[in-house]
């Protein structure tokens, strides 16, 4: 991702006073990375849009608590990932996911014929997809992911390994068989 995510301090200061123009400017600065993160984690574009809205309502409500420690994007990203994972939990997809994942020993023939990474990512269970995205792309640690998911660090690590094993099978079926 090559978006510029730097925000002037004066804009943050104005947003803290509740200035709607400043808050809109923050929204414009972060709407795409927040949506992108949410879309990679959530099942549907509609869910990702809802996460985008919930994230910014939380930003408006809590911007006064942002103390300027670390990049503002890091703070917003934390809120976005938390909202996206909450949505996953709320949908009670975990149990279904695990069943789907267990049953996914080998990709179906149409998939094995070769798919791109984008589609392979969609084939992952929601938890595995969330972990691989948050860890490998967004840069969250296993400790941070575990805390947000309400699970253990071991769970996060095992989901990451499962995600890579599955991606490997989906992307290069021949190599996976060796």
């Amino acid at each position: 991702m090559t978006l510029s995510l730097s925000v002037p301090d004066i804009l943050v200061a104005r947003a803290k006073t509740g200035d709607l123009e400043a808050l809109e400017a923050l929204y414009r600065a972060f709407e795409t990375p927040v949506y992108n993160l949410a879309r990679r984690i959530c099942r549907t574009p509609e869910d990702a849009e809802d996460v985008l809205q919930e994230t910014f309502l939380e930003v408006v409500k809590s911007i006064g608590q942002y103390r300027g420690e670390g990049h503002l994007w890091g703070w917003v990203r934390q809120i976005a990932s938390s909202k996206a994972l909450m949505r996953l939990r709320a949908e009670k997809l975990r149990m279904t996911d695990e069943l789907v994942d267990e049953a996914a020993g080998a990709p179906p023939p149409s998939v094995a014929a070769g798919i791109d990474l984008e589609r392979a990512l969609e084939q992952l269970s929601t938890m595995s997809r969330a972990v691989v995205w948050l860890h490998d792309v967004e840069g969250f640690t296993h400790e941070e992911i575990a805390e947000q998911m309400g699970r253990t660090v071991s769970f996060s690590k095992s989901q990451l390994a499962r995600a890579h094993a599955r991606l490997r099978r989906l992307l290069s079926p021949a190599a996976a068989g060796s």
């Binding site: 991702m1 978006l3 006073t17 509740g18 709607l20 808050l23 809109e24 929204y27 414009r28 709407e31 795409t32 990375p33 949506y35 992108n36 879309r39 990679r40 574009p45 990702a48 849009e49 985008l52 809205q53 910014f56 309502l57 408006v60 006064g64 990474l117 984008e118 990512l121 691989v132 995205w133 490998d136 792309v137 690590k157 095992s158 990451l160 390994a161 890579h164 094993a165 991606l167 490997r168 992307l171 290069s172 190599a175």
Partner: protein
């Protein structure tokens, strides 16, 4: 025996076992597998950025504005209630006829305690203020702090003394002014 995907992911994250590290150094297959892992992560990072299909700012702004209106109405109601309570105090206090110093002291202390409660409930620390309001509030709080210091110095030795009553009255007066700052703000600003 080759490294598992768990071993390779752990190695990448600097957490691999000594055996896995040594094995990858010697095994061409595992080196190739590790390279595929690196490439996969690089490809993940290079995936196109997905953009929101619709502008959600207007919905967010409408929600924020509605919430602010709701808070404003609530604070106007509570602000008027506090103003009425203050008015009551201002009427009742002078009506006390020729009390002794001890009685007078008890009355002003009670008034002070009531105002403390109202101010604490108002939780002014978590509210946004203008610079002028913040400055005025800070000045009043400083004056109250000075009075508290004087009251503390007088201590028990001056119990029921006229000077003590006077200091407590000054304290109540300052707290009423402080409350007035918040009430005015709640009524007209709604924050």
């Amino acid at each position: 025996m080759h490294c598992t995907i768990e071993d390779l992911v752990a190695l990448r994250d600097g957490e691999g076992s000594v055996w896995a590290r040594r094995h990858v150094g010697e095994c061409a297959d595992c080196q190739a597998e590790r390279e595929r892992l690196y490439q996969r992560v690089a490809q993940l990072k290079a995936l196109p950025t997905l953009r929101p299909p619709r502008d959600r700012w207007h919905a967010i702004r409408d929600t924020v504005v509605a919430e602010r209106s709701r808070k404003r109405r609530r604070w106007m109601r509570s602000g008027l209630a506090v103003a009425a309570a203050l008015g009551g105090l201002m009427i009742v206090i002078p009506m006390v006829q020729s009390p002794t110093h001890a009685q007078e002291l008890a009355i002003v202390k009670d008034s002070s305690a009531q105002l403390e409660t109202v101010l604490r409930d108002y939780d002014s620390d978590s509210r946004v203020m203008s610079g002028r309001e913040a400055d005025l509030t800070a000045q009043l709080e400083d004056q109250i702090a000075v009075l508290d210091g004087q009251l503390s110095q007088l201590g028990e030795s001056a119990r029921a003394d006229a000077q003590l009553v006077d200091l407590w009255r000054q304290r109540v007066d300052l707290m009423q002014q402080l409350m007035q700052v918040h009430v005015t703000r709640a009524k007209y600003v709604g924050l």
